[in-house]
């Protein structure tokens, strides 16, 4: 804890906007929270079907079997929850990995989550469509297997972040070859797989909520507990050892938390990119590098971005729906570049 005894001093410094840094951070966190709540709220009140606010309130208090009630309870509400949880999981996973690898480009792709889940999901969807109900568990197993394989391959008297990243690139490339192969040999069946590769929340409902919820809750708690270790790891291995941290063990455990968070998310919605990489960076630019703030911040912002983007994706061309991944990239990438140029 010695490292952070200096933090209060930093808090007294004044930002370039003349706001006390403590208040600035508090304000940013509060804004993230407001955005997440707004995202959830909009997801429930906006959609292709016109349902008035008063009607929605009635439906939420007293559900019936009318179409409007079905739309709110079985379509919009579970979809909003899945979106928020997925966003938060991916953002947390990315935030953790960036600290563990000490690399700003680290995200769930790096530990093979996307390629592993992608191959698992596509094998089930295209080669074994009779077992399509197993897409989610198989994708999850694929994601975890890829992560474990990369860990084992990168192990040589401990883990060096660079070796792990390179092993990740190699394993992902290997698995992607399998994905491409299947998509070429079964080109007539590619469409379903394509939607999975882009990632989206279409047709997500309560069963998906129950799959992802436990991982999201446990993952968030573990991430909050890990904040201290993540801070220490960022200082470099030497310093971290000096502070009494078992660096290897911490890295294994933290990577496992990140893998579980990301695997549960991608197995439910497909390979949603972007959130895991960009959200932690936006959070860091606005909140600073202290993981005790960054973890809750990234979770809230991840939930906000996915729910807001998905609402936009559902409404803009209604009744045609765009995959949320496309909207996130279109809005998010320029915004991120803007922040980067401003160097907050």
């Amino acid at each position: 804890m010695k490292v952070f005894s200096r933090l209060p001093e930093i808090d007294k410094t004044i930002t370039k906007y003349g706001i006390n840094r403590k208040w600035w951070r508090f304000g940013v966190l509060l804004t993230f929270l407001a955005l997440a709540v707004t995202g959830l709220f909009l997801s429930i009140i906006k959609g292709a079907a016109e349902i008035s606010l008063a009607q929605i309130f009635l439906i939420l208090t007293a559900p019936d079997s009318e179409p409007a009630s079905q739309i709110i309870w079985n379509i919009r509400l579970p979809r909003a929850i899945v979106g928020a949880l997925v966003g938060s999981n991916l953002a947390l996973s990315g935030a953790i990995l960036q600290a563990v690898m000490r690399n700003p480009l680290a995200d769930p792709h790096i530990i093979g989550i996307s390629a592993g889940a992608g191959l698992g999901g596509i094998v089930m969807m295209i080669l074994l469509p009779a077992y399509s109900n197993l897409v989610t568990p198989v994708a999850f197993v694929g994601a975890m297997a890829a992560a474990v394989a990369i860990y084992i391959l990168a192990w040589k008297n401990g883990i060096k972040p660079v070796r792990m990243i390179l092993a990740g690139v190699a394993v992902s490339t290997f698995l992607s070859a399998g994905i491409s192969g299947i998509m070429i040999f079964y080109s007539d069946r590619v469409h379903g797989a394509l939607m999975w590769m882009v990632g989206g929340l279409s047709a997500r409902s309560w069963p998906h909520v129950t799959i992802i919820l436990p991982y999201a809750v446990i993952g968030l708690i573990l991430a909050l507990i890990s904040a201290y270790y993540l801070n220490v790891l960022q200082l470099g291995d030497e310093m971290a050892r000096g502070l009494g941290l078992n660096v290897e063990l911490a890295r294994v455990l933290l990577t496992a938390v990140a893998a579980l968070l990301a695997a549960s998310a991608v197995s439910v919605v497909g390979l949603l990119g972007f959130v895991g990489l960009i959200v932690p960076h936006i959070t860091r630019l606005l909140l600073g590098t202290d993981y005790r703030l960054l973890i809750p911040g990234a979770a809230l912002l991840g939930a906000a971005i996915v729910t807001l983007s998905d609402t936009f994706a559902r409404v803009i061309l209604a009744p045609v729906e765009l995959p949320v991944g496309i909207i996130m990239a279109i809005i998010g990438a320029p915004f991120f570049l803007f922040l980067l140029r401003r160097q907050l």
Partner: protein, 324 residues
């Protein structure tokens, strides 16, 4: 000094790339010579908007897909080669079984194809476009076909009839198919059934529109596609991702799912999938068990000449009592 050399090198490389981009279409030039010089055998405008001139009646035709092979069979045409097929997928007419093969439809071996020295290649749009430059460079004429709707089938059959000088056979076959479809349509009740067609998997909502096979079959049967409003001005769209809640609001009476893979096993799975998902279960058609699975050989891969069978299949699942 070194930097200057690098600049020069980069510049030269860019020139090389640009040079590669300029089409060097000797084949078209050769065709032009033919069309201006002597009377050509036939001139076609294919589905890739290319003008193809055949100097004389082709004698060594190669088809790159099974559906095109069936078209050739319908006009009793000769072939010099064909795409390979898995035995389970499609029956090859006897007269074509022993033909040299040029590899599977999605992965044609360009070496084998060129090695056969065909004087006409019949190819599918999107699947075989990449072979075009190579074939044109070898002065091998190619006709590209894009066959989705029934209209496409009829047009393509006429084209292939013309290649073999068998226009009458083609026209006769078309009459036969028209009659068969008309008979099916006449049998079903004259109600505007409201339907939706889901593409491939209920794990995301993609609806098929009029430009798709199932969409055009439904159109022929006089069904109303509830997703028709999603059609763009361009018109011939095949499918689009669609809002689940819009589906619930439109409340189609019947839902079709075009399946991938063997229909028998998949059907039970797809039905279980939609029933176990509360979002899908919000649809009346799902709750009333009006979900029908359309087999891939008729509705996902192109049925070609089996279009009447596809029309009959769709009518049959909705009105089993009419088609016993």
């Amino acid at each position: 000094m070194k930097i200057k050399a690098i600049w020069l090198g980069v510049f030269l490389m860019m020139l090389l790339v640009l040079d590669g981009c300029i089409p060097q279409n000797k084949a078209t030039e050769a065709n032009k010579a033919v069309s201006s010089g002597e009377q050509a055998y036939a001139v076609f405008k294919d589905d890739a908007d290319r003008q193809v001139t055949l100097a004389k009646k082709p004698t060594k035709v190669v088809t790159l897909s099974t559906s095109l092979l069936n078209f050739v069979a319908a006009v009793n045409g000769n072939l010099a080669g064909r795409a390979s097929v898995k035995a389970a997928d499609a029956a090859i007419p006897d007269q074509y079984k022993a033909l040299p093969e040029v590899g599977p439809v999605y992965n044609i071996s360009s070496e084998k194809l060129v090695g056969l020295q065909p004087d006409l290649v019949l190819a599918n749009k999107n699947q075989h476009d990449k072979l075009l430059p190579l074939l044109e460079a070898n002065h091998i004429p190619v006709l590209i076909f894009s066959i989705k709707t029934y209209e496409d089938v009829k047009r393509s059959l006429l084209t292939i009839g013309k290649i073999y000088g068998q226009e009458d056979t083609a026209a006769g076959k078309i009459k036969e198919m028209d009659a068969e479809i008309a008979a099916t349509v006449a049998k079903i009740p004259k109600q505007k059934l409201r339907i939706a067609i889901i593409h491939a998997t209920p794990s995301n909502v993609t609806v098929e529109l009029k430009g798709s096979i199932a969409g055009s079959v439904a159109d022929m049967l006089g069904f109303t596609n509830v997703a028709a409003e999603a059609e763009t001005a361009a018109g011939n769209q095949e499918k689009t991702p669609y809002s689940m809640e819009a589906l619930v609001q439109q409340d189609p009476q019947v839902i079709f799912i075009t399946s991938m893979g063997e229909a028998g096993k998949i059907e039970a799975r797809l039905k279980a999938d939609v029933r176990s998902n509360p979002a899908w279960n919000s649809l009346t058609a799902v709750r009333k068990d009006k979900v029908y699975v359309l087999p891939e050989n008729l509705f996902l891969l192109n049925p070609g000449l089996a279009y009447p069978a596809a029309v009959k299949f769709m009518a049959g699942v909705v009105y089993p009592e009419v088609f016993k």
